[in-house]
Amino acid sequence: MITSPAANSGAKEKKARKPTEEQFMIPITVRQAMKSVTSDGQCLVDGRDPHHVKLVACIKDIDQTATAISYNVEDGTGLINVKEWTNNVNSGDAAATTLAPQMYVRIIGKLQSFQGVASITAYQVKLVSSPNELTHHMLECIYVREMAAKRGTGPIGASAALMNNVGFGPQTTGMALDANNGASGGAPHFQKVSDYIQQNSEGNEIGIGRQQILQAMTSMGVSEKAVTMAIEQLAGDGMIYSTTDEDTFKYAL
């Protein structure tokens, strides 16, 4: 059932807030979004209803109205409409003027269907931090599909142990990354923050919040300022990226 913004009195079956363990975000391609629509109007990816989806695609066209910005985006697998309500956009017109057709963007939002056609209501539409994000996103879609196949239909919490055992491509460790990125992170606390985010965002599709990182690091004797600087450095180097908001991070590699 789709709850439209205007359906104040009509929502007979108001959806209860999902428990935390069911609030997950998965990376998908437009093709997966299109195939997710079921005959009863649900959107299921790998058998589950994702709380949020992440898409990396190229803008084909933009149409801005007073209440929303509508994008048609494509990623080589298909074309889909993405709607971003303007009261959700932090910088309002600024976002509309910096985005243009033929630019790749990262979209985070809710997958929905109407009359059998999939679309996305976006919370965030931003330029990709690097064109390599396209490649990374496609590989991530493949990775998540493999994980879903190995997990079967079990709850996502159970996949944490599984993820540590699945050998998918080269296993990058904190030490290897330090060798590649020696110029930017020689201090011990930098490595602690990096390792903490890596370990705690792997089994979690949304990632880990800034507050949680701060709490854990300060209890280990790292100052709040040092943690903040480390997070900025890691994000700037592309080793972590923000997911549902500016204070939630996931390890990139």
Binding site: T29, V30, R31, Q32, C58, K60, E74, D75, G76, T77, G78, L79, I80, Q102, M103, Y104, S130, P131, N132, T135, M138, L139, C141, I142, R145
Partner: protein, 119 residues
Amino acid sequence: MTPTTPEQEGGFYPRLNAAGIEEGRFDGMIVSVVGKQISNDGQVLVLEDGAGGQMKVTSPDTAQNTQYVEIVGACQEGSIQHFVTRQLGDEFDMDTYNQMINLQNGKYQELFYQPDFQK
């Protein structure tokens, strides 16, 4: 009676490298190629893919591009007729992209392909 080719859906275009173009499977279709610019004389743009292969794009965009570009166009007899150019900056990882499209065009077509074109 010759079988008709399914119509390509909007937004669906296979991502190819030089080997994929040469294979000929997508001749006549809209495809995407990504590569490093080697030369552009206004008539033909030559791109190098992640495996070192070369791809030719006819009637290219003559505007200043970044070192790495994505070209979407029609695959015709071994070259690509230019439609659009997308800038991919100067630090694009071609090797990983090449491995990704091999997976995309191989084992994981289900996630990426219009069903009519899946092998």
